[in-house]
Amino acid sequence: MISTVVVFFLGLFFAYYIAKVPRVLKGILDVILTLPLVLPPTVVGYLVLRLVGPRRVLGKFFLAAFGFTIPMTWWSAIIVTVVVIFPLMYRTARGAFESFDNTLMYSGQTLGLSNSFIFWRIRLPYCKQGIIAGCVLAFARALGEYGATSMIAGYIPGHTATISTTVYALWKNNQDAEAFKWVLINIAISAIVLLAVNLLERREKQKGVTA
């Protein structure tokens, strides 16, 4: 959940600026930022581990500065899901931004509106559909993330367990009923989120017609 929020802002930020950079640079950045989507989760997990492991550059820095290690904590699970789901948000948001009608921005500018007002009040609402779609995809992927999470955060019940790792651990230990319970919870959460998104969209549409 938290990863989705983080990715929402991160994805928007990157999508917005990358939609503006020159083409060659755009192509290169695009490849780097989309890579986690294509790589197997274990590979992503391995790469993140190399980056933040206690003996690696970033990990060492954290250990020295804050006195703790990143892997095997609950928020390491968040970091790794952010990395994995980021491309989904970034890709869809960028697509949405590129379809934006720039004359709206120009007219806003000539009217003296600040660029941040134009971004939050005109560009985002205009691209709302694409951005919601990106969020839903990212959230779905975050919920289903297993490979990279299990490599970095491991499985410590009540601490770093995510639904997907819990289900796997329970099933492995022959606790079938327990596992099934978590499966149901997972289905329920996903269904509720999707339903909420659908309702939201429909209400927006009605508002547009009757207003």
Partner: protein, 353 residues
């Protein structure tokens, strides 16, 4: 109140080079699509940056490449109406107009916005989204949003092109009144000569990124001076031509010699408007005596709602192009012959560069 523009901008093979000055009142830039009209407006508004030059509005330098001055569009006090209006689709008409108010708290902004909505007869539309407004209402809403912003100059980019033909005339009159009340400099860009002629007194003709002719509208229509200008002002009969003697030219496309007035420098062609071609009685009596008179074969006719355009080719010539003559329907039905005698009065012939 004056706007002075002198800019250059290169875009691939296209070169924009525009220089003009205008005081208050309305100046129309007439040009075919893609000639750089909109780009000029965008450079004035600060949406595009010229490569070189200066833009000055009421003694305020908006852009100067030498002094590295380039004000943000937000600070230029330029009202820009886009072809498709560019209303914010997620906001109501009132919210759109409120976006244009620069100063004041929410309540004051609302008051100002409501006042201008009332002035432009948009009452009842306040809470509608732009998609629910008619074309004319959208247009006025965009104007309201700009006027409430209190700009020093108004830039109108093809303001009527998105409207249906029957709405256009009516909307034009409304906009004319609004603009007259505005009382400052207005730049109006269009490819429609009728629109331009009805709305403005001063016209500049733009071709390929360059301003060709600029002047009072009657003058420009009487003497467009360039081939492009002649086409834009609606001249249908244009031919390349060669100079034969000081007062005589050969129109290549029609294969005929013509007596003309004083030939300008860089002379390239002649033109004559459809309604300026004079019909002689077709029995041929006056043929010999009249200047620039020709015996022509009728090679086709085009029926318009209220007139006929007759396509003529001088007899015995194999020119590429024909000469079009406008006749009223009854007259043509009376005559209806295979040959017509026409005269191209020398004082009506346009001498073009």
């Amino acid at each position: 109140m004056a706007l002075s523009v002198d800019i250059q901008k290169r875009l691939g093979n296209f070169e924009l080079q525009v220089k003009f000055e205008t005081a208050e009142g309305m100046l129309a830039i007439l040009g075919a699509s893609g000639c750089g009209k909109s780009m000029t407006l965008k450079c004035i508004a600060g949406i595009e940056t010229p490569d070189r030059g200066r833009v000055v509005l009421d003694d305020v330098v908006l852009f100067d490449s030498e002094k590295h001055i380039n004000l943000k569009p937000q600070n230029r006090k330029v009202g820009y109406q886009f072809q498709q209006y560019a209303l914010f689709p997620n906001m109501t008409a009132l919210q759109n107009v409120m976006c244009g108010v620069r100063e004041g708290n929410r309540q004051e902004k609302r008051q100002k916005a409501l006042a201008i909505i009332d002035r432009l007869h948009l009452n009842g539309c306040e809470n509608k989204k732009p998609s629910m407004l008619s074309g004319g209402q959208q247009q006025r809403c965009a104007l309201a949003r700009i006027l409430v912003n209190e700009p020093q100059v108004l830039l109108l980019d093809e303001p009527f092109s998105a409207l249906d033909a029957h709405l256009r005339f009516h909307t034009e009159r409304q906009v004319e009144n609004i603009i007259n009340d505005f009382g400052k400099t207005v730049l109006f860009v269009s490819h429609d000569r009728d629109e331009v002629f009805r709305l403005t007194d001063k016209i500049a003709v733009m071709e390929n990124g360059h301003l060709k002719t600029m002047g009072e509208k009657h003058e420009v229509f009487k003497d467009p001076s360039t081939i492009g200008g002649a086409i834009l002002t609606g001249c249908k009969n244009i031919s390349d031509a060669e100079i034969l003697s000081p007062n005589r030219v050969f129109a290549k496309d029609w294969g005929i010699e013509l007596s003309v007035g004083e030939i300008p420098e860089d002379f390239r062609g002649v033109g004559i408007r459809m309604h300026d071609v004079k019909l002689l009685r077709h029995n041929g009596d006056h043929q010999a005596s009249a200047e620039n008179a020709f015996h022509c074969k009728v090679i086709g006719e085009i029926e318009n709602p209220f007139s006929c355009s007759i396509m003529l080719r001088p007899d015995g010539k194999e020119g590429e192009r024909y000469i079009l003559v406008d006749l009223n329907k009854e007259r043509w039905n009376e005559i209806r012959s295979e040959y017509l005698d026409v005269c191209l009065p020398s004082e009506k012939i346009l001498l073009l560069k």
